[in-house]
């Protein structure tokens, strides 16, 4: 898991009442994390963009290796919260049956979430879904990581995209993510992407978390520490 943290635990920490402890821990109702309150708390805590990696760990082994390494935090920086799926759920079927692909899609809540965000239109896997906000309207960008330059490591492409996302991220502004600017930057580099209609993903995101947790899975969150040490601090 490296330096990633389970999103569920992260959201629990955000909605826990300060200085209250119960026998159950700080959270009395585990389902509270599924609520709007939990997702809004995450939005409030992380003021930058969210990036969800969509991939299959068996097929996209290079990408899986990269996102689970410590390099991801360094590359994404403090203004991007990177999310990927805990590779613990039952492996999707990769049989050669006629409905194999359909079966794979049905078994991946993350792919379902991406598809729903784009009004039912399937997006190619692997890829990166970029969201400015989770609880208020945003224009989602989906960046395909299907490679044409096979000789180039996929981590190079991801780094390049992360840099562009970081450039387009303005914490503290209402939209946070300059989607149009990001789209332009991607287009100039011939990186394939899709833009969604402006949408609020809150309900869909709650559904994603619920579906994952129902299967004992989770998203893992990776963030880089912003410089937050103050001068002094003695005593």
């Amino acid at each position: 898991m490296g330096r990633a943290q389970p999103l569920r635990e992260l959201m629990e920490s955000l909605i826990a009442p300060p200085d209250r402890k119960f026998y159950t821990g700080t959270i009395k109702d585990p389902r509270a994390v599924f609520s709007d309150k939990g997702i809004e708390a995450l939005d409030a805590k992380h003021r930058g963009s969210f990036v969800l990696f969509s991939y299959d760990s068996a097929v996209d082994a290079d990408l899986a290796k990269y996102v689970t390494s410590n390099a991801l935090a360094d590359d994404s920086g403090p203004n991007i919260l990177a999310l990927y799926q805990l590779d613990r759920a039952p492996k999707p079927s990769h049989g050669l049956a006629a409905h194999g692909v359909e079966s794979l899609i049905k078994q991946s809540p993350l792919i379902d979430f991406v598809t729903e965000t784009f009004d039912g239109k399937l997006q190619p896997v692997p890829g990166m879904l970029v969201l400015g906000r989770l609880s208020s309207p945003t224009t989602a960008i989906y960046v395909s990581l299907n490679r044409t330059e096979k000789e180039r490591p996929i981590s190079d492409r991801v780094r390049e995209v992360l840099r562009l996302i970081a450039d387009a991220t303005k914490p503290g502004t209402p939209d946070v993510l300059n989607s149009a600017g990001l789209g332009t930057a991607l287009g100039l580099r011939n990186i394939p992407y899709s833009s969604s209609r402006p949408t609020t993903v809150l309900e869909k995101f709650a559904g994603l978390l619920g579906a994952l947790w129902a299967h004992k899975s989770d998203l893992l969150a990776v963030a880089k520490l912003a410089a937050s040490v103050k001068t002094g601090g003695g005593g």
Binding site: R3, Q5, P6, E9, L10, E12, S13, L14, A16, K21, F22, Y23, T24, G25, T26, K28, D29, P30, K45, H46, A73, P78, L81, A221, V222, A223, K224, L225, A226, A227, S228, V229, K230, T231, G232, G233, G234
Partner: protein, 552 residues
Amino acid sequence: MEAAESVLSQLTRRLFGQLWAAGRLAAAGWISSDRLRDEIFPRALVARFLAERISDVAPVAKLLPDAATLTPYIEFPLAFAPGGWLRDGHVNGKQYVDALLDTWLMFGAGPTLTKGFVEWVVRAMLRVLHRDGVLAAVAYVIDLQRDGVIRTDVAIEGAWFVLRARRAVADDTAVASLFLDLDDAGERAWLEQRFKSIDANPWPVVRGDLDDDLWAIIERVDDEIANVRTAASYDDWIAGQTFLDNLTTFAKAVFRRLNVADALPFAAALHRFEEVRADAGGLLASVSALSRSGEWPYTPIYGSAVNFEVMGAPDREAIERALEQRAIVPDELQERFWRDERGVAGLAPQWKGFTLALAPIVGRAVFGDKHFATRRRLPFTEEQVRIAADNSNIFVGLDVEDAEIRAMLLALCTAGDHEETRERLHERGVAGERIADAVAVLLSRCAVVEITVMVDAMTQRLASGDRPGALAVVATAIERYPWYADAYDMEAELGGLGGNPVASAADALLLDPMQPKRWRTLADALQTRGHAADAGIARTIGDRLTASVPRP
């Protein structure tokens, strides 16, 4: 073939096991200075005396937990430790033992955060940082804390200075210069140069986004949580929870002082650590309270888990979450937990309670649990209790009438368990909180009565020439009250179980090593079995104790 470990070596090893546990508990503040002075320090003296004299000292060094983790750095910091660990440039078992005792006794005796010790830790960390890098320095300060060499507050203060200093300079090679003038960076300068006056307030923030040291702390805490969850015995479980309590406190304080406790990358981990810390604190508080009370305690293997389930967890999902995220039930017992087998019955011996090694430290009567104390019938008659009670004042201070006492005794001596006792009392109109309290106290005091009855029975059988019968009574006494040192004395005097008085005498000494008579008993037994040298050592200790310990 390797020679068997001698009885004295075994005894020494087990005494040091007790001291090790006591050191940890003292460092965490769970043992009062009075208990340190009256119970722990005498053990340390005896253990040290033995360690100096027995020839096979290696096992003693072996038992000290993870001494090897210190040895790579031992030539530097230990030179500054009280007791002078390193006069000849290396460590041997005895020096290590001496220094360990000196340091933990000194640290454990009072809560004062001493500037000198913080400087010692900072200096040692700087040296390790300079030589092996920051990850080694973090591991180093945590190891010192784990081994009971430094208190948690000293570890926090020392680590904070070094980690804060890293953020004030552009490169780790410049950290030491904030504390020392290292123009001459030879070994002597590291060792002897005086610290500059340390004041972090004017320090700039040059590398505010450093996180390698913070992740090292998080990963270490996670490792220790995993260690505790996979504990192999109740002793390990309690000792591990003690360290978790210290370590999570350390992590929380260091992150807070570096102003990163709420930072997004660490929020989940620190939140989880706080829950683990609360669990550990609760568990240790109950153990500590039990050891002080002198009343019948219970074995809270599942203590926090059962409370958690009964008091608030709404459903299976919440329980799963707690078992997965926290160290609330040992892995080995989780299946039992789900099968609803929460009692002591059926537990493997290593999980039933503390061993003899830990019991005298954590509490003298911690072998049983609630079941032991409340779900049994007293094995004697009401009349026996009354006779024995004449000498033991078991009714003094009970807020109950004579008739109520009679009812309580009748119920306690005939009911099958606590529930039945309560029902019988209720049928007789004897009930309420006042009665419940009195029953608990009476039950506890009846243990003394039971022992008295057993001693009488043993004496009578011995007088009538029934030696095996007497030995059987003693064996029962030991089974029911394993903390009762006098029972081992009697066993030794009767020739020991299986005709081996040495083991019985050693057990008695382990529980209470300050009785000269016990050492002489052991000396005689060793002499009889041909261990003249060890017998001489045991006799010397007995003589010294006679000369030095004020007799009551």
